[in-house]
């Protein structure tokens, strides 16, 4: 059997399905539901077996369409930085507020992706977010939580 990344992903999916199946068997159901034809664990159990079946088949059968990815050409560093910025954005958005965090997220993302046109970067972050906030909050009446703007009295 030729080992390639698709096979490794299938193996991981097989392990994941086994764990899912084990967890499905652990779902606590009501005593009167224990022997019912269908209870809260029935469907997940079938899904667990289906996952084992399809990933097992993928593992055993030979690959007809082997996918080769040239990792040397992939931009892992920039992608990683972008994911990290998104995580920081997610972590601060509730406490700091929508306007500042979103504007900073956009500005930082443009910068790390190699953009250096500062004025355009600024316009497409701070004023852009302000206009978008006005559309959502002011026009469409969609609530946007922003403790910072509420503190300085810009938002009601």
């Amino acid at each position: 059997m030729n080992i390639n990344t698709t096979k490794i992903i299938s193996l991981l999916f097989f392990i994941f399905s086994a764990f899912y199946l084990y967890t499905a068997y652990q779902i606590q159901v009501f005593a009167f539901d224990e022997n019912a034809p269908f209870n809260a664990r029935t469907f997940p159990i079938y899904l667990g077996y289906a996952g084992l079946f399809f990933s097992g088949l993928k593992l055993i059968l030979p690959d007809t369409n082997t996918i080769k990815v040239d990792h040397k050409n992939l931009e892992y560093k920039k992608t990683g930085i972008l994911i990290l910025i998104a995580i920081i954005y997610g972590a601060t958005i509730l406490k700091v507020g929508y306007f500042l965090t979103t504007s900073l997220f956009l500005f930082a993302s443009y910068y790390f992706l190699g953009e250096r046109r500062w004025i355009l970067m600024f316009i497409l972050s701070f004023p852009f977010v302000a206009a978008f906030m006005y559309l959502l909050h002011g026009v469409l009446n969609i609530y946007l939580r922003d403790p910072l703007l509420q503190l300085i009295g810009v938002m009601g």
């Binding site: 698709t6 992903i9 999916f13 899912y20 967890t23 499905a24 779902i27 159901v29 009501f30 539901d33 034809p37 269908f38 209870n39 809260a40 664990r41 029935t42 469907f43 997940p44 899904l47 289906a50 996952g51 399809f54 990933s55 088949l57 993928k58 059968l61 007809t64 369409n65 996918i67 990815v69 040239d70 050409n73 992939l74 931009e75 920039k78 992608t79 972008l82 994911i83 998104a86 995580i87 997610g90 958005i93 509730l94 929508y98 979103t102 997220f105 956009l106 993302s109 443009y110 992706l113 190699g114 953009e115 355009l120 978008f132 469409l140 009446n141 969609i142 609530y143 946007l144 939580r145």
Partner: protein, 499 residues
Amino acid sequence: MIEGILIGLTTALTIQNILMVIVGCFFGTIIGMLPGLGPMTAIALMIPITYGFDPATGLILMAGVYYGAVFGGSTSSILLNAPGVPGTVATSFDGYPMAQQGKAGKALAIAAWSSFAGGTLSAIYLLFMAPSLSKVSLSFRSPDYFALMILGLTAIAAFSSKGQFLKAMMMVVLGLMLASVGQDSLSDITRFTFNNMNLTDGISFVLVVMATFAMSEALTIILKRNDPTSAAKQVSLTELGSIRINKEERTKMYKTIPRSSIIGFLIGVLPGAGATIASFLAYGMERNVVSDEEKEKFGKGSVNGLSAPETANNAACSGSFVPMLTLGIPGSGTTAVMLGALLGFGVQPGPRLYMTNPEIFWSIIMSMYIGMVILLILNLPLIPYIARILAVPKNYLIPLILFFSVTGIYVMSFNNFDIYLMIGIAVVATYLRLYDFPMPPLILAFVLGGLMEENLRRSLLLSNGSWEFLWDRTLTACILATTILIVFWHIYKTFKKKN
């Protein structure tokens, strides 16, 4: 019936109502283009405003918003590969590759004309078939729905791409597994939450679709930035191309539109089935009926592949009004929101509505149709401006896609956990996409997961735990036989190609 249609037309064609349709189409298109804000959100947002009008005007405004948002959703599917609603996921299969080839304008024009034709044909079907269709939809039972969902999932897996059936089936199972997280709908027992309160209500559709499409698309573009094989695609993304559809493309559409509209309409009539299954089935069927040469183009910018789901999802939109108006059962999430609005107006949909209040029934249908006409007149000339979004450089577009994705989740839940979960799913999806694991089957399975479990539960309880329900009814057996045929046809074709 003719009298009802005329009253419906007279109501819909007043200046005030035409203005409402124009306003609705415009705002619907803008809202629908924003990933995460689909027709359901757009209509929900309009409900408080419509209560200021009489029922017909309110419904006409919502009709405009509905079709505008569906068209807007197709636009973001084609231009950004970020479908805001499940019904436009299949549009991105060929619409986005077409945009990448510098034919974004053409893709949008094909989508607009197909949507219009799908809606027009389904309105004609509705005219002649509404009374009898309500009887047909009443005859569907849980086993039939369960079998229909199996058929939908198998079809999308089988037709997703060449030699990827097992990968697609793994994605189907993963989608169903994600849908099983949270409270069981009947017993309220929590499953796979690992005592995390944030997972009690399950994972939202918008989160999964944003993670697997919009966010993962953005990450893939960055990841493959220096990949010589994808460099050409990046350049052509900035080209709009002509919006003119040539004779050859028109000929292809003439064949695709009638058959896709029939599938779309019939699926739309089934309560709960809706535009998603319709668009996927139409796409799958279209791929099966076209020539081998055309089949090779599927997933790479095929005119048939784009026209089929666009026709079907619009035909299904009209079809989904049949169960809502005649049975009081919404055919889709969007019609569920509209059902709520109708009830707010004091209109009680149900089997008696068609008989006792035909003017309400027909004014809704006519306003939907007028909405589509206005949309076509309004949006076709605007395509070059809408498509300008492609001219945005990647350094700006990628952060903006991430920003729309996070905003979509943020305004929904105000919860950090959902944002982390979305980033986590997006990272996994990006890696899976690198190795050609298709995402559309995962999305469809996720959408259908709850309904599938519900129908399996009812079927098993009614048959006392026996699986005989799968062949007890002729209709169920026929649907399952079609599923088996698709699987065997796929296996046969694979082996034939291999030899």
